[in-house]
């Protein structure tokens, strides 16, 4: 069997795809990639369907041994990579693919400047979907590997025993996530807050607290005062909902949030800005801007257009040329269209 063997797990790495759709009504979290854009880009770099499952790396990645004739890998997100081969170690660049061979050791170090990075392997992981998905929801232990994070000794079977034809690929340019305020649509329970609280929410800076995980970001800033009780009759949630418990400090829900909740939600981050929010690290400061549904749709169309452009304009890597030089000089040996399984 061809596989990657986990020697050291890093911190809380999990298998994720684009989420487990269709089971929320049973209380099963959607889970899936916190940054679906980086997951899709990593897949494109190794020639996969864009929705193939990847290892999602939080903060610090794993140490992996290659037990396959060859495998093409790519990491999207600013992780520090080191390749151990024949007793020597050298750095590898992220945001491009590399061809590894049997006996290689890949160390994915700290993730820098963002919360997450993704490891894609050419052909994908040979694991059985659970309720139609390879995403991991740690709370209910639902997903591959028993629904748990990577552990020392975990085995990640590969569908392909060796790489196919073609060279390694790189993004034509680093993908940019934009900046400025996070755009939200107010509600569904903005009316449960005083008008002053809503105005405060839309003007004051909120800092990402230390207490963050795949379920949500705790935000710290001016207290948001409820007009009545903080509690509501529990209702359905989506990633991006900003709920405010009785202490007035907002929580921005992310991929592994529970399906229903009983706190009033002052606003919801629009889908175009959610990947950027999910990449946030503790200490980062956000402000929020209310937009309309029409503005949200246009922002999403623009993001989809930029993602599609990035997915389909990949550069063949020229051996010996480093990527920063390539980006700088825009010297591209040849543009190729990534195979897109959709």
């Amino acid at each position: 069997m061809s596989l990657l063997r986990v020697i050291r797990p890093g911190l809380a790495g999990t298998l994720q795809d684009l989420g487990r759709v269709g089971y929320r009504a049973l209380g099963v979290p959607v889970a899936g990639a916190m940054d679906p854009l980086a997951l899709q880009l990593a897949n494109a770099l190794v020639g996969n369907r864009r929705d193939e499952a990847c290892v999602e790396i939080l903060a610090l990645g794993p140490l992996l041994d290659v037990e396959a004739d060859s495998v093409r890998i790519a990491v999207c997100g600013s992780a520090r990579l080191t390749l151990g081969r024949d007793g020597t170690y050298r750095p590898l660049e992220a945001e491009r693919s590399h061809t590894l061979r049997r006996g290689d050791r890949l160390e994915i170090g700290p993730v820098l400047g963002a919360a997450v990075a993704y490891l894609a392997v050419g052909g994908g992981f040979d694991l059985d979907p659970v309720l139609g998905s390879l995403s991991t929801s740690v709370k209910g232990a639902i997903g591959p590997l028993g629904g748990r994070a990577l552990a020392a000794g975990s085995v990640l079977p590969l569908k392909a025993g060796r790489t196919g034809v073609g060279g390694d690929l790189a993004l034509a340019a680093p993908f940019t996530y934009g900046d400025g305020p996070l755009r939200v649509i107010l509600g569904p329970q903005a009316g449960h807050f005083t008008p002053e609280a809503v105005a405060m929410f839309l003007s004051a800076p909120y800092r990402v607290g230390k207490d963050c995980d795949r379920m949500g970001l705790r935000l710290e800033g001016p207290v948001l005062v409820h007009a009545g009780e903080a509690g509501i009759a529990s209702d359905g949630l989506v990633a991006g909902c900003i709920q405010v418990p009785g202490n007035g400090q907002p929580i921005l829900l992310l991929a592994d949030h529970q399906t229903v909740g009983g706190y009033a939600k002052i606003a919801t981050v629009i889908s175009a800005d959610l990947p950027r929010a999910a990449r946030a690290v503790p200490g980062q400061v956000f402000t929020f801007l209310a937009v309309t549904l029409d503005e949200a749709r246009l922002a999403r169309q623009e993001l989809d257009r930029r993602l599609q452009a990035a997915l389909t304009r990949l550069c063949l890597v020229v051996p010996g040329v480093d990527l920063s030089a390539l980006y700088y000089a825009n010297l591209v040996s040849g543009m190729v269209d990534a195979v897109d399984g959709d």
């Binding site: 209380g27 209910g140 569904p188 529990s234 359905g236 399906t259 749709r297 999403r300």
Partner: protein
């Protein structure tokens, strides 16, 4: 009936703002209408809750789905509460909060057990964790707010109640409800289709057993 956007990828169809069987019946009627009414392009999934239906959509098709669902919600058939399956849950009433509940409600342990097991509860929604069913219908005399100090770990299988709701914890988890007893019934199993045993609309009785 009101519809609120929940970001650009979902909207909530609300029937009132409190836990209420009539509102829940409308939610379930709309849920059935949406799921049975033929393919709606852009519809991802629906999440029924006590008094609202969350409709998850493709953000680019939000307006179209909202239009379809609004029309369905405005034209709901006269809601006759459909009687779901009736489950009898064998329950050992030996929970750690039984004495505290007896003291707080001013009745004896046995009276608490008789009252809790004498009702038929309705499953209003699933959520919180996979397979966790919120059941309404706790007798007025038994209703207590959640514990001031939530437990860090409530064992799987615990039968619990808070306010007008009762539930069974399918997994070990933190929890603030009052623990009355336990059951060995398996509420969530990935090998079953669907994996959750209970569904909204189902009715549940707790039957006292000794072990």
């Amino acid at each position: 009936m009101r519809i609120w956007p929940v970001g650009d990828g979902a909207f909530s169809v609300e029937f009132g703002d409190r836990i209420d069987p009539a509102a829940n019946a409308k939610v379930m009627a709309l849920c059935a209408a949406v799921l049975d009414g033929g393919h709606i392009p852009g519809l991802v999934e629906v999440v029924p809750s006590f008094r609202s239906l969350l409709v998850v959509v493709d953000p680019l098709l939000y307006a179209m789905v909202e239009g379809r669902v609004r029309a369905l919600a405005q034209d709901l058939p006269e809601v006759t509460r459909t009687e779901g399956r009736l489950w009898e849950i064998p329950t050992v009433y030996d929970g750690p909060d039984l004495d505290a509940v007896a003291a707080a409600t001013g009745m004896g342990r046995d009276a608490v057990i008789v009252l809790h097991s004498g009702q038929t509860y309705g499953v209003a929604m699933l959520g919180f964790m996979p397979g966790f069913a919120y059941m309404t219908g706790v007798a007025e005399a038994l209703r207590l707010p959640r514990r001031v100090e939530p437990r860090v770990r409530v064992p799987a299988g615990s039968v619990a109640m808070a306010d007008e709701m009762t539930a069974i914890y399918p997994w070990d988890s933190p929890g603030g409800w009052h623990l009355l007893g336990r059951t060995s019934v398996e509420l969530f199993n990935l090998d079953n289709t669907p994996p959750a045993m209970l569904a909204p609309g189902d009715r549940v009785c707790f039957v006292p057993v000794t072990s």
